[in-house]
Assembly symmetry: C2
Homo-oligomer: 238 residues x 2
DNA sequence: GTCTATAATCAGATAGAC
DNA sequence: GTCTATCTGATTATAGAC
């Protein structure tokens, strides 16, 4: 907990927020039978849903600031009931990170990721990266905010570096092929590109705008820039 | 602490890393007199240095995962001695965030921030933002990773939103003036631009490349894009 | 499957000797 | 100014009743 020792929890600066957001309904058979529970809209209890709930709370509060009490409250059950479903805090983290990494590495396995010129492939990967990021928003967000404190975090960071390395190779190839700007270090350009894409998790929320529109704007900015383009033949604004 | 209860601290997954990185030398008179201390390169004890050390450790481990023990160890003294210099964990956080915010808002007060066309002003601000980010790297990094758990964090987030709003207004003005691309929401473009700039804290380290070179690459990417530009008159690659 | 109660440990912060 | 020793409360995790 934070701040000086204060009697009541309400006196602390920390705000208890509840996870909102829609979630896929759990299989009916998995629901607890005696629906005597009176809490507000409570998430289902199947493992996959619990991971998603946990990822949401981790992102809102930060992994370290999140207590098992916070997680169980978000799931609508007590802490010890929560432990009945989950091995521990770090197991939840790992499951969420695996989902994010599976999504990202899945992109590299797609046929379009190895078809065409380097730039064509790169643009496909960027577009798909935006889509995976939107589809797995809480899990990817979690992945991008890791500090590397635990063994699980370091494992995920290592896999993330492998993904980034694939992007860097592709940027280098595209520059060599004359499809990307010259005069800059491809490793730097790859980091700028990844930074741009990854920064979406800080503000994009589903429903804010269609995912394919977002992907198009990111693609345009990354490769053509924000500046207005003058029609061919006209003079460039000084 | 993390993981199941284990006897020894060494058995935990957490790695104790020491703050490296160079620091401006403290005024000689501020150093403790009897240099009997035998630890490795230890930072000075003046308040400003302690804030910088704290910001570094906060960034490495995350604010919540950082204990006062971690901070005092990084400073080379015991926890209770550390408390002699500092009011508490949150006071350190606030001091670091103030430094970051002062740097950023200082940019908006510069004459060049309100001289010329919207695009000229925007480009100046972006360049200066990269420079401030590099000069105040640990403090700005901390600012960009806030979750809003405490009152201090929420205060800083609110000020950061004000800064972002200024950028958004400028992007809108530049688009209206025909200097930026059309067909996209200026609020989205502003977020993409800020996301690109802010993502630097995730990888840029002083000494990796000169700051002005970095600023130029960011400027070029943001406004012209990564794609190779064909000389005027030639056909655009399909 | 869920609960109350509690164990074991670690956090931020302080007291008081030197 | 620094230290050892300690307080208070929160944290992860478990025991065992229902």
């Amino acid at each position: 907990m934070r701040g000086p020792p204060v009697p009541g929890r309400a006196a602390q600066g920390r705000t208890l927020r509840r996870v909102t957001g829609t979630r896929p309904p759990a299989p009916e058979g998995e629901r607890p039978a005696g629906g005597a529970r009176e809490r507000r809209a409570r998430p289902a209890y199947d493992p996959s849903s619990l991971v998603e709930v946990a990822a949401q709370v981790f992102n809102e509060r930060g992994y370290d600031a999140t207590s098992m009490e916070d997680l169980s409250a978000a799931a609508g059950i007590t802490k010890s009931s929560f432990y009945h479903h989950v091995r521990g805090k770090e197991a939840l983290l790992r499951a969420a990170l695996e989902r994010a990494l599976d999504g990202l590495f899945g992109i590299l396995d797609e046929p379009a990721a190895s078809t065409g010129t380097p730039l064509t492939r790169l643009r496909h990967i960027v577009r798909r990266q935006v889509e995976v990021l939107a589809a797995e928003l809480p899990h990817v967000t979690l992945l991008l905010r890791l500090r590397g404190n635990t063994e699980t975090e370091r494992w995920a960071l290592e896999r993330r570096r492998e993904f980034d390395a694939a992007i860097t190779r592709l940027v280098r190839d595209a520059q060599t092929a004359g499809e990307l700007r010259t005069g800059s270090d491809p490793a730097v350009d790859a980091r700028l590109l990844s930074g741009l894409v990854n920064s979406l998790v800080e503000w994009y929320r589903p429903g804010r705008m269609p995912v394919d529109a977002l992907a198009s704007e990111v693609d345009r900015m990354a490769f053509e820039g924000l500046r207005a383009h003058v029609p061919a033949g006209e003079a460039r604004p000084s």
